[in-house]
Amino acid sequence: MTNSNMKNNSHSADVRFLCFVVMLVASLCSHNLLAQDTLPASVKIAQQQRVETIARVSPSVVAIFPPSGKGGGSGVLISSEGLALTNFHVVRGAGPFLKCGLNDGNIYDAVLIGIDPTGDVAIIKLLGRDDFPAAVLGDSDKVQAGDWAFAMGNPFLLAADFTPTLTFGMVSGVRRYQYPAGSFLEYTDCLQVDTSINPGNSGGPLFNSDGEVIGINGRISVEKRGRVNAGAGYAISINQIKNFSDHLLSGRVVDHATLGATVRTDDFSNVVVDTLLPDSDAARQGLRQGDEIVSFGGRTIGSVNQFKNVLGIYPKGWKIPLTYRRNGERTDIVVRLLPLHSTGELLQFVQPPRPFENPEKKLKGKTPVIPGHDHPPFPEKYAHLYKSRQGFANYYFNEQHQKRLLSYLQAMGEFGKRNTKWTFTGTHQDGSPFRMVITEFASLLELPASKQVHLLDIERPETFMAGLNGEGMLISFLQLQRLLTQKKEGFTEFYYVGSEPLDGVGSRVDILATMESGREARWYFDKQTHQLVGWDTFIRPDVPECKIRIEQWNNDGQQHIVPSRWSLSSSGMPKSVFQADKMVIETIERPDDSPAPDKAAAPKPKT
């Protein structure tokens, strides 16, 4: 009975199970049939899109080889003229000329333009075409964990025909901070991917699923498994590179920045200022030890890494908004960043390898030399594209930008020679009249309403700070006169820096740097209008720079574009605005062959 029941039970269970199975199979079959009718269509479309995206971006991926033919890396074209991004560590030690392969199977000559040893980025220029296939740059701030990301490049130098290798993966994390390898190659604010990145991928692009470049692959976590991918690869975010791109195009060795302050996390998980350089712009603007950093560069700061991430994406000299809190009170400032490295530290990256350190050279004569391999042939027609100069990766490209900026100055008119006298007359912001005279040997500012005369005597450094508030307005305008009359010849250093947002918040400006008699000036040209919009004069290292911003230019009716309204400011001083109704340009007689004016004849300041 028990057995039978058991049997029956099991019997009915079998039948029920069979029915269930039949139903399930039927429903699954229909599901699968349905799937074949509908799902593959969307899948096919998506796959087709992916195939098309990859086909579209593949021509922009560059295989980069040093002239020695040993090793190599990857890169990505970003303009039809052949500009391409790569890692600094790919071009390091390779010299100014490189060989590049594209997926059309051709090898192109390329020349190095600029390097960023700290950020591990370099810009090179492929030569021989003006219609290179360029990739589109994306917005890396929009990238999130979980996004798909594919890497292209030449891992393990597999592609003999330069068809890039494609690897596909997921964004594992964003805004990662990776400590410097040695004292350089610090990866800040970078993207972490499980996309397989391997040796040879360095310098190659990381694309989002739309085929936009979101980063430059450059680093992987390696530990126990050897020097291959172990699940964590890092790409320099493309937005960081956008900040640096004009700097890199200047042909310089570009530097990253420091605030001049160190920060730490306090007991309440706030990020506070730990130490501060007294001469830093941040200190001059009122930041003090113990202040809590609330936001920096527009981002809320909740950890030391977040602070470092912001700091790491900007070139030195940029002005960045910073909000700090002290005793519950918030203060907003815009701070100018200091250089991260000394010039000497950066120079090591442009020293050519000394000949006796080259083992190949030693062996020369013993080993057969492959023609064109020992000294790779670079067409003579490209030789002019490289100029060596201390502090520059390739001075040739800086000269091109100098010419461009000089042409903007030229467009302002012919301002004569050194023996020029400028006389501005107009009103100060409080409505009182002013008169300002600028000549090479002596300048003055008269404010009759308050019975003040400020005098600048070029022979007496103590007068250099002359101006309404002792901020150096006269010497700043003397710099302008020097720039407009003597151009490049008026300065011991004269170079293009790159670009930055004016005063940290304005539109992008090109920066020209000049130096004469220890005085540095940075001149700002609007990138759209090419107009000189202002300049900063660094009179001495221990005093804050004098900032002139030209709010309005006028035509003086004699083919000169002249400043008619400007603001004057300096850290810790009140801002003043001057309205010039008239500017007279005259030629004056210099005292005969005498570099110094007669001091006794010069009027004394009445203050």
């Binding site: 019997h11 199979v25 979980g146 991918n229 172990a230 699940g231 998980s269």
Partner: protein, 353 residues
Amino acid sequence: MNIRFPFNLLFAVALMIATSLIGSRNFCLAQSESDSGNLEVKKVIHQVFPKVVKLYGAGGLKNLANYGTGILISADGHILTVWNHLLDTDHLTAVLDDGRRLPAKFVGGAGEAGLAVLKIEVTNAPHFSLEKVGRRGPGTPVMGFSNMFNVAAGSEHVSVIHGVIATVTALTARRGRFDVPYQGEVYLVDAIMNNSGAAGGAVVSYDGVLLGMIGKELRDRRSNLWINYAIPLYDVKQTIGKLIRGEVITNEQTGLPPVIKTVETLPLGFRLVPNVVPRTPAFIDTVVPGSLADKAGLKSDDLIVLIDDDLVQSCREFYERIRESKKGDQLRITVRRDQQLFTVEMIIPELAD
């Protein structure tokens, strides 16, 4: 009507179903891959982030990371992680997704099954409910969440990587190659998941169901092969429940195959250092004054090198050897102390099992 189907036919049908299920899952993956917005996946990822914590504890020596990962499994702050060297400290810290750093206390551990439960003082913590732990087969797309390489500091989210369950199998197939105490089934995953600091991380399906916990790093010494695996949590749900209640459980109770486990050596009068790595040298940690060991002349920091004439290369080998002996056996123990060898003899007393 007495219809009986042979079992193998039912089995074949079941297999068909399983295969077709896997097939449809693959379609799902293809679809999610093709979605450039990838929104659903990102939503799941951001739901998982706050349920995974970064752990900081003992370690810091070469190849022994002092960082790891844990999974929040209760609103009261119970954290599931692997029982490894990291926990061998009184100063264990859990860093939450929002950057909060909280001290973590050891609550319970399940022998060499490798599970441990910690607790932090929080309320309403986002967590994975143990009731909703899932079980999936080969072909399932999964994501691994962990503190791998300690890349994410402070309030940064842990790292997420993606892969597919390649197979579900017992690592015992490799017994003798991998020195692995855990002998249940594991998920083998095709992503490089088991990195430094990843152990204790969460393996989650694309619809956000917790499937497994990333295991300790395992390497085959001969092939230098590292495997990527996770411990399926579905089978050990009961065990985890007991751990939360503060129990320390031996392997018999977990229902897992027996493994060599620590022997209580206190009746002998000494204890070895904690068995934290696969080949921890058998150093004597403490000697009880007046005990057998003390009378025989053993001292702390002695390194046990021989038992009788058998070489002892690790704590594990010592326990294996001790386990074989019976009460009344005479044991000759040779130790190294200050570059010299000393031999002592002891009669084995009653040892607790």
